[in-house]
């Protein structure tokens, strides 16, 4: 009892904040997925009705909304994740060959956009892609309405995403590659392995754990995509870049009465995907720490 009282001033502040802003909302988040709720009044229990609607009832408007939101999110994840892994990996290899000073400058250039907010970065890129005053149409002599026609709308979203998203992975890969034992590479070189062979035979296996770590983190982050489509295309043209987080936000906090139960059910579905990913992450990391 005395020991608890002594510890309370230290752990108490965090525990209070944790209970109010993490524990209660998380439990409540699962609960309201099984209710009809407008955020203002009391939720009414409806069992699995919300899940039934979004998953199995084609006549429900939320069924098609969930489908297309999920499909667009999967398109984003399917393209963004490989880009966010391969581009920084190639960059790390390339700048690994030059001296530290030069490499640090390149690293800074590629990392800084990651510290710029999505809205500020998107304003800069919106100007780049602007039809009349944009850099791209004017330099290449084209007249494309990038943000309102497909596939360009996706191109603008992926451009912003890759521009802002490669820095962290680049830093991790660069350190990982620098940590590859020099003897391994020399041995491969003596065996007559060229640069490409060395990469696949020596470097890639040596950095597999940081690679897996970044793959899992990047995938989880990509499923949560929200800001890039909101800022670049507002989900258009014709809803083709409207991702699941945008649907969730609009249902719960958009204009008109809140449909928080449906939104929460969608959140739980997205949450299940993310939990599966973090389960993989844990396995990967426990294995890597045994390594």
């Amino acid at each position: 009892m005395k020991a608890t009282l002594r510890a309370l001033p230290f752990i108490g502040p965090h525990l209070v904040i944790f209970a109010i802003f993490a524990l209660i909302p998380t439990v409540y988040g699962f609960y309201i997925a099984f209710t009809r709720w407008n955020i203002i009044g009391e939720p009414t229990w409806v069992g699995f009705d919300n899940f039934q609607q979004i998953l199995f009832e084609p006549e429900s408007p939320f069924y098609s909304q969930f489908r297309s939101g999920l499909a667009n999110t999967l398109i984003f994840v399917g393209i963004a994740v490989p880009l966010l892994i391969v581009v920084p990996l190639l960059l790390a290899l390339a700048i690994g060959g030059i001296n530290d000073r030069g490499a640090n400058i390149f690293q800074g250039v590629f990392y800084i956009p990651g510290l710029i907010s999505v809205s500020a970065g998107a304003l800069a890129w919106s100007l780049m892609f602007n039809r009349d005053f944009g850099f791209i149409n004017n330099v290449f002599g084209t007249d494309i309405s990038f943000t309102t026609t497909q596939p360009w709308a996706w191109v603008t979203i992926f451009t912003l995403t890759v521009w802002a998203g490669i820095g962290g992975n680049l830093i991790i890969y660069r350190s990982a590659i620098a940590n590859v034992p020099e003897q391994l590479r020399e041995a491969a070189q003596l065996d007559g392995a060229g640069s490409v062979r060395q990469f696949f035979a020596v470097v890639l296996p040596s950095i597999r754990f940081p690679l897996l770590y970044t793959l899992v983190m990047t995938t989880a982050l990509s499923f949560n995509v929200y800001g890039q489509p909101v800022m670049m295309t507002e989900g258009g043209p014709a809803g083709t870049t409207t991702v699941l987080m945008m649907d969730i936000r609009d249902l719960a906090f958009g204009d008109g009465p809140a449909i928080a139960g449906i939104a929460a059910a969608m959140s739980v579905m997205l949450g299940l995907v993310l939990m599966a990913i973090s389960a993989i992450q844990f396995r990967v990391m426990f294995r890597s720490s045994d390594d």
Partner: protein, 305 residues
């Protein structure tokens, strides 16, 4: 997180990546390197151009943009877009947003560092019944994706009367357990003999924390401060939910409203000036504290740098 716990404080202070540049190179690898350098330089240019173009556009006068169309550099460099923002005569209160963001991000980062460092001390240096169970609960709850608690979190913040208040940006994020893990793993590298010795000399927990632990965990607290500040500064979804009063918004949420101004070409200069202003604090932090950003990324990926 297990990796984080195992990598002791050694990783943070001296984790600048070392180049392995000095080695024998064959002729083909020299050519490969030259090609690679050309591509990297081209890519770096692409990375810089949007920021540069935003910057040069922010120094063009509205009339120049409207009548001369596209040009990379301004014909006349004018500061009027920035002056309009500073004087508050622009359509939106951008400088006010900037001030709001400074208050919120600084407040959040300071609160985070204080709360997390004392909690880290509690979980590593103090013994009390149920400690490990409690820590396990923190771990388990933090595994649930934040998307699930988004809607109820709004309800909680609304109940507290924090809609449109800076507190909505300062407090909720501190609930995370991730930073406690980070501090906890860092502290476990500090020999316990040091606290024991101080305790024999009659020091209490508060003194031990302030005099012995705090100075030694400074590097990890700097990292936590930097990431809390930049994370809060750049947070986008949450502030667009909890702020509907334009004058109380942080700048990241405010800039979304500016997207509408793209229809008005005379406003482009002010629009870019606003974006540039929003970019300054986090970019500046990176320039002065690059090694902390680099080492903490390596630390969380389980690398010693």
């Amino acid at each position: 997180m297990t990796d984080v716990m195992q990598v002791k404080q050694a990783g943070v202070e001296d984790a600048t990546p070392q180049s392995t540049g000095k080695r024998h190179r064959s002729r083909s690898s020299v050519i490969l390197l030259a090609i690679a350098m050309t591509l990297v330089t081209a890519l770096a240019a692409i990375w810089i151009i949007p920021m540069l173009f935003a910057l040069t556009t922010s120094f063009k006068s509205p009339t120049e943009i409207a009548f001369s169309g596209f040009s990379l550099l301004p014909a006349n460099w004018v500061a009027e877009n920035y002056l309009a923002l500073f004087d508050g005569v622009s359509t939106y209160p951008v400088m006010r947003w900037f001030g709001n963001s400074l208050v919120m991000s600084t407040g959040h980062a300071v609160l985070m560092v204080v709360v997390v460092s004392i909690a880290g001390y509690g979980y590593t240096r103090m013994r009390f019944p149920g400690r490990d169970v409690l820590f396990f609960v923190l771990l388990a709850v933090s595994l649930f994706p934040s998307v699930v608690n988004l809607i109820p979190l709004y309800k909680v913040v609304q109940t507290l009367g924090w809609v449109n208040s800076p507190w909505a940006m300062i407090v909720p994020g501190v609930a995370t357990a991730a930073n406690i893990f980070l501090v906890r793993s860092f502290m476990s590298g500090i020999p316990r003999e040091m606290d024991e010795a101080a305790r024999i000399d009659g020091a209490g927990d508060f003194t031990i924390f302030m005099r012995i632990i705090l100075p030694m965990i400074r590097p990890i607290l700097i990292v936590i401060f930097l990431f809390a500040f930049t994370g809060s500064w750049n947070d986008f979804l949450w502030p667009t939910i909890v702020f509907n009063d334009i004058s109380n918004m942080p700048i990241t949420a405010g800039l979304q409203l500016l997207q509408n101004l793209f229809g008005d070409y005379t406003a482009l200069g002010q629009l870019m000036a606003s974006a540039v202003i929003a970019m300054i604090p986090t970019t500046a932090l990176f320039l002065v504290a690059q090694r902390y950003f680099v080492s903490s990324l390596n630390l969380t990926a389980g690398l010693k740098g």
